[in-house]
Symmetry: C2
Subunit: 162 residues, 2 copies
Amino acid sequence: MKSFLERFEAFLHGKGLRLTNQRAEILRAIYRTHRHVTAEQLYEMIRDDARTKDLRISRATVYRTLGLLAEGGFVEALDLGRDQGVRYEHSLGHEHHDHMVCNDCGKIIEFHDPDLERVQDEVVARHGFVASSHQLNVYGSCAQCSRRERKKGASESDGAEA
Amino acid sequence: MKSFLERFEAFLHGKGLRLTNQRAEILRAIYRTHRHVTAEQLYEMIRDDARTKDLRISRATVYRTLGLLAEGGFVEALDLGRDQGVRYEHSLGHEHHDHMVCNDCGKIIEFHDPDLERVQDEVVARHGFVASSHQLNVYGSCAQCSRRERKKGASESDGAEA
DNA sequence: GTGGATGCAAAAAGTTTGCAGGCGT
DNA sequence: ACGCCTGCAAACTTTTTGCATCCAC
């Protein structure tokens, strides 16, 4: 099993492109984090990382490399709405999944359900549509936040009912 | 049954705001079209419309009004990805629906399936998540385009196989 | 050595905001 | 008359691009 880096290198060579230190560092950074990061966050991560203090990096290279990584299927771009901007996550070694976004604490929860996928495929196929990918975002309150909300709502309505 | 415009007026008054000609025209424009429009497209529609030739309009007002309309639930913002930018659709008088985006012709197809909604709710609830809304985008080839693709693929492999 | 890659800064694209004047109530 | 609204232009944010230099192969 080749490493992600080796696979990225193979992908680049297939296009007559080169694996540079910057590109390698960007790949490592996005595979090291478990967050859904923006281009800016990725840029800061690499710039501030002590291990890479001797590496010059620029936003332009981050953007250019994210384009290559997305094209090669190494990362996926997500738009989680709510003024979050475009975020990226590494995709190799991760099964497809969807996202729940908590409107209260901002947490992003990944989930996957085979039944859901199956029903989705069926519905879409019924329209003669040939799906190549999809993105489902669910917005609301996560388990912790909704528990907290309920508790707060209960105590408020105890004494202060209008 | 109050008209959408009357409801918008009521919504505005409830916030101590006024219904101006610009705001009314923006509401009408987005309720008249069946496309998923960007702020820029909406601006151009109003600016170029003969009926509103005597009305001054600016992009700033379009953006400001779209914010109000979204807040009041009169329009919904969508991010259909693929460099499409934020698009808006009117939401009153429309049941909730999801979108299929054709990567070949750019067509946007709306669809709705109660089973799909139900499975989605179940899966999400199983995680203790309380959903308030969701957005599902399916990317691929629409019926026409996928038919065309198949035909093209077949004739190509007829004579020009490498 | 050569052509691709990089950083920088300028440019572009999309959206927001400050302000002076205009207008609805 | 008051205070909300508007257009304009400037500011902001995010992403792309031109260019001289640099470096991976």
